[in-house]
Symmetry: C2
C-alpha cells in the first residue's frame, strides 16, 4: 500500500457532519491526484485511530464515498479508489484541491496578489509608480466627447456592435496615427483591445500551446509573463545591455531551443529604459524571419521620448510579416478606459477577433467613438506634446534629486524616453527593507527585483510622470530618510 495521509483540514464554522467532511476530504485527494484509481485506502479502524474518531464515523464516510462512486470494494484488497474515474485521470497535475469546503470543486492555484504591481494612491503618500498625472488630463474634453458619442450612438445602442474588432472610426483613427507617426502600414490588420494586456492575453491564447518556448527580456515586463506561464509556455530569459536586447545571446538560445516568439520592448525597454540599437533591430528581424519566430513588439510608451528623434518601431521595418505590434493608450492618456490595440497580418487579427468574442463579445462603442474623436480632433496629440515637455522636466528633477540625495547608493542614466528611471543599487543594501522603511516615511516605489526572471539584481524602477518636480524632490528626500532608518536599525 502506498503511503497516504488524509489532508483533512476542518474549516471554522463548517456545520456539516464529521463523516461528510471526511468523505469530501477523500474525494478532494482523489480529484487532486494524490489518490489515484486503484489505490488502496486504509481500513476504517486504521483511519479512525489516525483521526482520533469513532470507527462508525469513518465507516459512514466510506459509505458516502461508495454511494457517490469515488471508492469501491475490491476482492482481497479491501477498499480502493474506483477504477472508473476517467475525467479525474485526465486532469493535469497542477490542479490542486485548494477549495473551500463550501465550494465543492477544485480550484486552480494562483499567485498571491500581495505583490500587486500598482499601489493605490493615498492622501499624503507620494507614489513613484504612476503612469500618467491624472491632474493634467483633459478630463472635461474627454467627458464631452463621451457624451457626444453616447448621444450619436443612441439609435443603435440596443444592439451589440456587429464586429469585435472595435468601432470602425477608432480603427481608422489609430491606423492613420500609426501610419503617419510610426511608419506602420495601413494594410496591416488592427484590433482594438482592453489595453495592451488584452492584446497580449489574446496572442498567448491564440498563437501559443503548452510547451512552446518564448524568449523574454530579462529584466522585463514581469506582469505580462504571467499570461505565458498560465498557458504552460516555457520562458527563456535574454539579457539586456546598454544596446537593448542582446541578439548574440538570443541567437545562441535559438540555436538550442525551438523558440516560437520573442516578447520585446525595443523602444524604451521595460524596465531598464534602454533603446534597441539600429543594427540589432536588423539582426532581430532577420533572425526572426529565418527561424519563423514571432516578434511581439510591445511599444507601450512610443510618444514619450525626450532625447533625440523618435525611434520607428520594428513593425515599421518588418518586411516578412514576423512582427506583431502591441500599443496602448494607457500611458498616452490614462489607464482606466483600458484601450489598446494589436497590429498584425490580417489572418492573425481575424483569429484574435474570434477569440475576443468569447472573452467579452466586443469593446465599448461609446468609449471607442469618444476616443476616436479625441484623436481625430487632435486633443490627444496636443495632450501628448504638452506632457512630453512636462515629463522631461520631471525626469530631470527626479534625476537631480537622486544625484544629490542618493548619489552614493544608486547608479542610473536618465532615460531617453518613458515614464521611469531604472537604477542599480549597491549590493549591500536590502532593497525590500528600504521599500518598507520608505513606505513608513510616506513614499512608495518599486523594487526592481520583480522584473527579473532569475537572480534579481538590487535595483529600483521609479516613475516620475505622476508627480510634480517639488513632489519628486520630497519623495526622494523621504527615500533617503527611509534608507537612513534602515541603516540605523542594522
Amino acid at each position: 500500500m502506498r503511503p497516504w495521509l488524509l489532508t483533512l483540514a476542518p474549516f471554522e464554522g463548517d456545520a456539516r457532519p464529521r463523516f461528510l467532511q471526511i468523505a469530501h476530504a477523500v474525494a478532494r485527494d482523489i480529484q487532486s491526484g494524490r489518490l489515484r484509481p486503484g489505490d488502496k485506502l486504509p481500513g476504517t479502524r486504521t483511519l479512525a485511530k489516525e483521526l482520533n474518531l469513532h470507527r462508525n464515523t469513518v465507516a459512514a464516510a466510506y459509505d458516502e464515498l461508495r454511494s457517490e462512486g469515488w471508492i469501491e470494494a475490491s476482492r482481497g484488497k479491501g477498499t480502493i479508489v474506483s477504477r472508473d474515474l476517467p475525467e479525474v485521470a485526465a486532469r493535469p497535475p497542477r490542479v490542486q484541491a485548494s477549495h473551500d469546503a463550501r465550494v465543492g470543486y477544485p480550484l486552480e492555484r494562483f499567485a498571491s496578489p500581495a505583490d500587486a504591481p500598482w499601489p493605490e494612491p493615498r492622501s499624503g503618500v507620494l507614489a513613484l509608480a504612476g503612469i500618467a498625472d491624472g491632474r493634467l488630463l483633459p478630463m472635461t474634453e474627454f467627458a464631452r466627447a463621451y457624451r457626444r458619442a453616447a448621444l450619436s450612438l443612441q439609435a443603435t445602442a440596443g444592439h451589440y456592435p456587429s464586429s469585435s474588432l472595435g468601432h470602425p472610426r477608432l480603427i481608422r483613427a489609430l491606423k492613420e496615427m500609426l501610419a503617419t507617426t510610426r511608419g506602420i502600414s495601413r494594410e496591416r490588420g488592427l484590433i482594438v483591445t482592453r489595453g495592451s494586456q488584452m492584446g497580449l492575453f489574446l496572442l498567448v491564447e491564440y498563437l501559443l500551446r503548452p510547451g512552446d518556448v518564448v524568449a523574454v527580456e530579462n529584466p522585463g515586463y514581469a506582469f505580462g509573463w504571467e499570461a505565458f506561464r498560465r498557458k504552460g509556455v516555457r520562458l527563456v530569459p535574454v539579457p539586456i545591455d546598454g544596446g537593448g536586447l542582446r541578439i548574440d545571446a538570443l541567437r545562441e538560445i535559438v540555436r538550442h531551443n525551438a523558440i516560437r516568439a520573442v516578447f520585446t520592448t525595443p523602444n524604451v525597454q521595460y524596465p531598464t529604459t534602454v533603446t534597441l540599437t539600429p543594427g540589432r533591430r536588423r539582426e532581430l528581424l532577420a533572425l526572426a524571419a529565418e527561424h519563423r519566430i514571432v516578434v511581439v513588439e510591445d511599444d507601450f510608451v512610443h510618444e514619450y521620448r525626450y532625447d533625440g528623434r523618435p525611434v520607428l518601431p520594428l513593425a515599421a521595418q518588418d518586411r516578412d510579416g514576423v512582427v506583431i505590434y502591441l500599443g496602448s493608450l494607457s500611458k498616452v492618456f490614462m489607464p482606466g478606459p483600458r484601450l489598446g490595440y494589436v497590429v498584425a497580418p490580417t489572418p492573425v487579427i481575424e483569429g484574435l477577433a474570434w477569440l475576443r468574442e468569447l472573452v467579452d463579445v466586443c469593446g465599448d462603442p461609446i468609449l471607442e467613438v469618444a476616443m476616436a474623436e479625441l484623436v481625430a480632433e487632435g486633443v490627444l496629440q496636443r495632450h501628448v506634446w504638452r506632457m512630453r515637455k512636462i515629463f522631461e522636466e520631471r525626469r530631470d528633477a527626479l534625476a537631480q534629486a537622486m544625484r544629490s540625495e542618493l548619489g552614493g547608493v544608486v547608479r542610473f542614466r536618465p532615460p531617453a524616453g518613458g515614464p521611469t528611471v531604472w537604477c542599480e543599487v549597491d549590493v549591500d543594501i536590502d532593497v525590500a527593507g528600504w521599500v518598507e522603511r520608505a513606505k513608513a516615511r510616506g513614499v512608495w516605489f518599486n523594487s526592481g527585483s520583480r522584473f527579473f526572471l532569475h537572480e534579481a539584481r538590487p535595483s529600483l524602477s521609479l516613475s516620475f510622470v505622476s508627480l510634480a518636480p517639488s513632489e519628486l524632490r520630497e519623495a526622494v528626500r523621504r527615500m533617503a530618510r527611509g534608507l537612513a532608518d534602515l541603516r540605523s536599525r542594522k
Copy 2:
C-alpha cells in the same frame, strides 16, 4: 519507414531560396506533429526526385535543418527527426500548419464568423434581434453620471485601480440590489466583468479542464457554448420542456457521466423562454449538491418579467454553495458598456480576479462609478419599471401580429419574461430560406436552429424589445411577404 509526403506549398512572392523553403516546410511538419521525433526522413536523392529539384538543393535544406537542430544523423537509419525536441512533442495534435506564408507560424482554426448572432441595424431594416431600445435609454443621465465620475476620479486617474474585482462603489450597489430584489446573500463574493460573457469565459478558463463534461440546455445559449468548446470541454445536451430543464434527463446523464457543471438559464430559459418549476429547482440543487456539480446560473434578464411574480434565482436558494450566478446590465440597460458580474463563494471570486488581471488588468473605474451612481440614485430601477410596461405592450403587439399574419405556420406561447418570443415552425418550411427572403423584404430575424446542440427543430427566436408596436406589426407583415416569396419560388 512511415509514409510521409512533404506538405510543400511554395507561396507566391516567397523570395527565400528554395532550400530554405524546403527546410521550413519540413520544420513545419515536425511542429505540426506530422513528423515525430525519431521518424526517418527520405534520402536527399529520393526527395529531390519527388520534388523535381536538384539533389544539392535538398542536401542544403537538410544541412540547414541539421544546424537548427530539427534533424540528426542516425547510425544505420540515415537522417531522422531529432529525438530531443521536447516542446514539439508536448504540443497537442490539434495545431495545424494552416498559416499564411507571410505570417510564419501556425494559427488556431476558428469557426466562421458568417453566422454572427447580431445584425447591425441599418436604415429601413427592422431587426427582430435587439436586446434593448436605444431610443428609450436615459442616455443624457448616463452621460452626466459618466462626466461626474470622470471628474471625481481625476486625481487618481494616472494609476491603475488597486483591484481587478471592480470599483468598490459598484460592487456595493450591485450587492445591495441583488440582496433586496433577488434574495442573494451579501456574504457571497462578487466580481464585475465585461458583460456576463466575460464571467462565463473566466469561469470556463478557471474551473474547467480539457476533457471535463458540462451539461447544457438544448436548445440553449449556443454562443456561450463556444467558450466551453475552445477549452476542450465536452457538452452534453439536456432537453427542455414546458417546465424548463428536464431534471429526470439530467439525472440520467449524471448517472453515466462525471458531469462537472450545468449551464442553465432557469428564470427565462434561452431561447425557449420557459421558467424552471419550483419542484425542479429543488431537485436541481439537491442533485448538484449530491454529485458536486457546479450550477452556472445565467440570469440574463431577471428584471423583465411581465406575468406573475418575479422568480427568485437558484442562487437565492443555494444552501450548499453549488451555484455560481452570472448577471448582466446589457439587457437592463444597454450592451455597449459591457457590464456584468459573477456572484460565487469567495475563493472562486478570488481566482477569477487573478485570471481577470491577466485578461485585461481591471475594469474601467469611470464607467463603473457612473453605473454605481445610476443604481444608487434609482435611475436604473426607474428605467427598468418603465421598460417592463413598454416591453409587455410590445410582446402583446408582436404576438397579436404573429397570430393574424403567421398563425398557420408558427406555434408559440407569449413569454412570461425576457426580450424574445420562441416559435416552432411547420416542418415543411425551409427556415433558412425564409430568413433570406424576409431580409430582402426588409426584416431581419434569427432562425432558431443555431440554438440546438444537435438536430435542430424548425424554429424562430424573435426579439420584440427594440421596436415599437407599429414597427413590430410592419416587421411581421414583411415576414409574411418573405414567406410568400419563398413559397411562390418553390
